[in-house]
């Protein structure tokens, strides 16, 4: 609806707000009335009642507990109701390393959460694999599930987690619709990222099997691992 803001004439108003909105048609908007959209009201409700699902697999989980406790008190941001059932949650917080044995579990829990849902990747390990660049540890959960906010740190300070929660709230307020299933601009970003990653580019090298740099070196010998098979 096209609205035409206009300053009300001072003589017709004895008190009340200075600015009143006059629609192009002749509908009168009463005083002390806010015009908005259903979507932004819904988003406003959603962002102050996030129910986190703590997927805490390692040391970052301890810091997440500190955020929930009285000193840092995540309840000030309306996200204190940690639930251990994915059916009751809409914000997944991946806190800690995820191994390749755990990844199917994580994906399943993510799929079990009802829409709308968001995900925070907390700490160096969840975001990139951290120092655990071994055969078993997934190098960043964003390879396999969508992530909205990343938190750097090992472990991140509780303040950083609160900050990430506030960023998450901003993001929820900006995107999403009551009838949609996902946040539109995030889907656009994601499609773009998939497109970038699938096109060959020197800037985004695929992970190489560079055992020579990171792999096991036979003591006293050259890096000769991976070219000999024993089974």
């Amino acid at each position: 609806m096209a609205l035409e803001p206009s300053v009300a004439k001072s003589d017709s108003r004895a008190s009340g707000s200075v600015l009143s909105l006059k629609p192009a048609s002749s509908i009168e908007v009463p005083e002390n009335t806010i015009l908005t959209t259903i979507n932004s009201v819904v988003n406003w409700c959603r962002k102050y009642s996030l129910w986190p699902m703590p997927f805490a697999t390692a040391c970052c989980g301890i810091e997440l507990m500190a955020v929930g406790a009285s000193r840092h008190d995540i309840a000030r941001f309306g996200a204190e109701v940690m639930r251990f059932s994915p059916r009751q949650c809409d914000l997944m917080i991946v806190a800690g390393r995820v191994t390749m044995k755990m990844m199917p579990v994580l994906q399943r829990i993510w799929l079990q959460m009802p829409e709308p849902k968001w995900c925070i990747s907390m700490g160096a390990c969840a975001s990139t694999g951290g120092v655990f660049d071994t055969y078993a540890v997934v190098q960043g959960v964003d390879r396999f599930i969508p992530i909205d906010v990343y938190i750097p740190g090992c472990p991140p300070r509780p303040e950083q987690i609160l900050r990430a929660l506030m960023d998450m709230q901003d993001k929820i307020q900006k995107g999403g619709a009551i009838q949609g299933t996902a946040l539109p601009e995030l889907m656009t970003n994601e499609a773009r990222r998939v497109q970038i990653e699938s096109s060959p580019s020197p800037a985004l090298a695929r992970e190489r099997g560079d055992e020579d740099r990171y792999g096991y070196r036979i003591p006293g010998g050259p890096g000769q691992v991976g070219d000999r098979e024993s089974h």
Binding site: P146, Y214, Q224, H231
Partner: protein
């Protein structure tokens, strides 16, 4: 091999004597490192030795089973893999390490689960990491890695960063989930 420092109060003397009486000479060789006594035994006599230690010498506790891959190890002449059993006598606090070599292809050892049922998960772990099979084990499955994992990650010819196993998951996108 025997670098014994001939201490006058050797806590293993009684054990070695009993073993010599039970099994005869020449079943195992010894080596020492600091206060550890290691007995090296061929795989064919492994169960005899362990049974004698458990029944005659009082080693009631098997505290560890582990493996080693000596591929490319400087100066190594023996078998490629080695499995060690750490035994403990709970009455005298004596402890003893039994080592046995096993070689490619298809390294196989007899299971010690019939002797110590606690060996169950430890042998599964050695199997999981090195691919050494334990014959007679009641349930030899992988214990740490997922069942569909195909390699044995602690073998020295397995690259530290794997062969891409950790990347073979479906990718969940926001539109689909």
């Amino acid at each position: 091999m025997n670098t014994t420092s001939a201490t006058t109060t050797d806590e293993h003397q009684a054990t070695l004597k009993t073993l010599a009486q039970t099994l005869g000479e020449g079943v195992f060789t010894q080596s020492r490192f600091r206060d550890n006594l290691r007995l090296h035994v061929p795989a064919s006599r492994l169960i005899d030795l362990l049974r004698a230690l458990r029944d005659q010498c009082g080693f009631k506790l098997l505290s560890e089973v582990g493996g080693t891959d000596y591929l490319g190890y400087p100066g190594r002449t023996g078998a490629r893999f080695e499995v060690h059993y750490v035994l403990r006598n709970l009455e005298t606090s004596e402890y003893l390490i039994i080592k046995t070599g096993v070689d490619d292809p298809d390294p196989t050892l007899p299971s010690v689960v019939p002797l110590w049922s606690g060996a169950d998960w430890m042998e599964r772990e050695v199997f999981d990491m090195y691919g050494i099979r334990f014959e007679g084990h009641p349930d030899l499955r992988r214990i740490l890695m997922p069942p569909e994992f195909a390699s044995f990650p602690l073998r020295k010819d397995y690259p530290l960063r794997g062969r891409g196993e950790r990347h073979n998951f479906p990718r969940l996108l926001r539109g689909e989930s």
